[in-house]
């Protein structure tokens, strides 16, 4: 089974991934469910956390990992997408883990392969493993993932993390809201928008901060990072837990002095990422 996005998953499926991730973390019992499986990592965008995390997760389950380097691939010689995927598919890998700046890229790949495709982030569409590791981190801190109050602050229009969270919000009946400069918020879309920063962070279980993604042109929609920090950045500890998918622009979304506060769960998220990705591999291969 593919993991292309949370829009394709139901609540039961998400819960079973979460349970498995928690089980892996607590028991360290890694049932080599990917023994001898071949995982091809195809990352067309830079990544520290996600790529390493998927790789470690695969290794822990007994898989072998091949890193496809597009800069040295025949795509550079003009080979087209279908031929590239068809040829890689002919080598019968068990998984493609893909990241690309194109929304829909993982879905596109899945049309041309029998391997399980896992979306490690596609453009501004979805980042399912990130949302699931956020969910696991929430579970660890609240023990209940139903009816949470969550606000996401940042460039919502360009955020694949925010979109994946919208599907979680529907499944678990969250009160999910958004905040940021108006140019970061979709117009004419039926979502809840907070009216100021104070509202955005008050009476919340979790506040998720998003990175100002300069590579996705967040920059042209705000005058400056300094003004963003002044009016939309978190400069002191707040009542809610703070999460961030990383990488953090320190002193833009989040001041360095707050980063070390105990309510900031960023490092926990990264730790949980490995277990969630193990659970995703395990879920995909056994379904």
């Amino acid at each position: 089974m593919h993991c292309l996005g949370l829009k394709y998953f139901n609540k039961n499926q998400v819960e079973s991934i979460l349970e498995k991730a928690v089980y892996f973390k607590s028991t360290k019992n890694y049932t080599k469910s990917l023994q001898d499986a071949i995982v091809v990592n195809m990352f067309f965008e830079n990544s520290t956390r996600t790529k390493t995390s998927f790789e470690i997760a695969a290794l822990k389950l007994g898989a072998r990992v091949v890193n496809f380097d597009y800069t040295k691939s025949s795509l550079q010689k003009g080979e087209n997408w279908i031929d590239t995927i068809t040829n890689l598919n002919a080598m019968h890998p068990d998984f493609f883990v893909t990241r690309h700046a194109y929304s829909g890229f993982a879905y596109y790949i899945s049309q041309f392969t029998q391997a399980n495709v896992i979306n490690a982030g596609d453009g501004t569409n979805e980042h399912p493993s990130q949302a699931l590791l956020d969910l696991m981190t929430m579970y660890e801190h609240k023990k209940d993932i139903e009816n949470l109050k969550v606000c996401i602050i940042g460039d919502i229009i360009n955020s694949r993390v925010a979109r994946s969270h919208m599907y979680l919000a529907k499944m678990f009946n969250w009160d999910l809201s958004f905040y940021g400069p108006s140019t970061f918020l979709p117009q004419n879309i039926d979502i809840k928008i907070e009216k100021d920063l104070k509202q955005a962070i008050s009476n919340k279980d979790f506040v998720i901060l998003l990175r100002i993604q300069l590579e996705r042109k967040s920059g042209v929609n705000i005058p400056s990072l300094g003004e963003y920090n002044k009016f939309f950045g978190i400069k002191e500890p707040i009542g809610a837990y703070i999460m961030h998918p990383g990488p953090v622009n320190r002193d833009v979304e989040l001041d360095s002095t707050v980063y070390i506060d105990r309510n900031v769960l960023i490092t926990k998220q990264v730790e949980n990422g490995v277990f969630v990705r193990m659970a995703i591999f395990d879920f995909c291969i056994s379904n």
């Binding site: 194109y102 929304s103 879905y107």
Partner: protein
């Protein structure tokens, strides 16, 4: 040599005819519409149960030749035209080289004559090489046979250049057919800027990218009162409001709607369906409702296909890289009949008018009627036949359409061009 088409329901909006009648063809011309009793005939075509109407006129066809013959040729494109009931098509100049010289005009006209399926009217470029910089030789191009001017595929960025072109041509009675798009809003856009774009994470093309250019060009038109503008493939509700006002004011402005914009919405693009990627994009339900309203109010001047054939290699790629465009000639009537006539938005007669005499008038073409003495360009329609679109059966090289596998009502049964049967279903 005389042929009679008998027992059909003749609909000829140009002459306000809608009745069971005979149509008598003498060689390549229409001799009579009415009762053919007593006239000696050589051939007969039984049109019982069918509608007999003038061959359709398309103001917006991409024939891709010269330059892009993998996508379409004048031969395949004009065969696709008659398979769709069109006997007069106007071809857009975004070829390679573009239609910006008399040489290319005569190349196209010769190729079209060679094919011999239908009339092909070249549309000249507004600017040399469609680069938006230098005016074309409008007077020479018009003499050579260009029926209008357009930089279709691209907007005319420079308002002063468009103004100058309109002033220069104001006495020759030509039309500028404008692709309205402000790239500052639409650059890198893939589909309509709306709920589907947000959900799929795709960069949107907002309505304002179209309407702001129409607003600008209405201002230009107002300052050159003899000029005439035709707005291509209108898709946004705001655009319709602007044009409606300009028409009320008495400005010489006309507009066309494509079959896909009068039938489909952005919902077609779910699952990253590249076949529904088109520019301007399929819009929201509100825009579609406004377009249907415009038909109800009789505001629309023409239905034009924007037939944009592509080889499938340019569609079977991630949607960001996919070409814009829909192959539209062969589904046009079925779509119009299914989505407008059968849904009681407009009458069959009105639909035929929008496919025949109305577009002919926009570009001043001698086409779109069954008047006695005119060329016998005739189409026979079965307006109740259900059929499933199968692009494998297309005459066009372009198999790119979101209507593939959809069921349509209304088929083109036979097309006659200058007295000869050029298509039979």
């Amino acid at each position: 040599m005389r042929t009679i088409i008998h027992s059909g329901l003749v609909i000829d909006p140009a002459n306000n005819i809608q009745k069971i009648a005979d149509v008598v063809i003498n060689n390549d011309k229409i001799e009579l519409v009415g009762n053919a009793n007593g006239i000696s005939i050589d051939n007969e075509i039984d049109a019982s149960g069918l509608v007999v109407c003038p061959g359709f006129v398309d103001l917006h066809t991409h024939l891709r030749e010269p330059g892009f013959t993998k996508k379409e040729t004048i031969q395949t494109g004009s065969l696709a035209a008659v398979a769709g009931g069109f006997t007069s098509i106007c071809c857009m100049p975004n070829t390679n080289p573009p239609i910006d010289s008399e040489l290319v005009v005569s190349y196209i006209k010769n190729k079209a004559l060679e094919a011999g399926f239908c009339d092909v009217y070249p549309i000249g470029a507004i600017t040399k090489n469609q680069e938006g910089k230098q005016l074309c030789n409008y007077l020479s191009l018009k003499d050579a046979g260009c029926v209008a001017f357009s930089d279709d595929g691209k907007p005319v960025f420079d308002p002063n250049l468009l103004y100058t072109a309109l002033v220069y041509t104001k006495d020759i009675g030509t039309v500028f057919a404008l692709h309205e798009e402000e790239l500052a809003f639409s650059k890198d856009g893939v589909i309509n800027d709306g709920k589907v774009a947000f959900e799929l994470g795709l960069k949107g093309i907002p309505n304002i990218s179209e309407s702001i250019m129409i607003a600008r060009d209405i201002e230009i038109l107002r300052s050159v009162s003899q000029a005439r503008l035709h707005i291509c493939h209108v898709s946004a509700k705001e655009s319709i409001e602007l044009i409606k006002k300009a028409k009320k004011e008495g400005l010489h402005i006309t507009f066309e709607v494509t079959p896909h914009h009068l039938a489909l919405t952005e919902d077609e693009v779910y699952n990253y369906n590249t076949y529904a990627k088109v520019n301007p994009p399929l819009r929201s339900k509100e825009d579609l409702d406004m377009i249907k309203n415009a038909f109800k109010q009789d505001l629309v001047d023409a239905i034009a296909t924007d037939h944009a054939p592509h080889e499938l290699d340019t569609k079977n790629v991630p949607i960001q890289e996919a070409s814009f465009g829909i192959s539209g000639l062969e589904t046009a009537f079925g779509v119009v009949n299914t989505y407008l006539v059968k849904q009681n938005i407009i009458s069959l007669q009105k639909a035929i008018e929008l496919l025949t005499i109305k577009p002919a008038k926009v570009f001043g073409l001698d086409a779109g009627t069954l008047s006695e003495g005119s060329f016998a360009n005739i189409v026979l329609l079965d307006v109740n036949k259900q059929w499933v679109v199968d692009t494998n059966e297309f005459k066009s090289k372009g198999k790119n359409t979101p209507f593939n596998n959809k069921t349509l009502v209304g088929s083109v049964e036979q097309t006659i061009y200058k007295g000869k049967i050029v298509y039979r279903r």
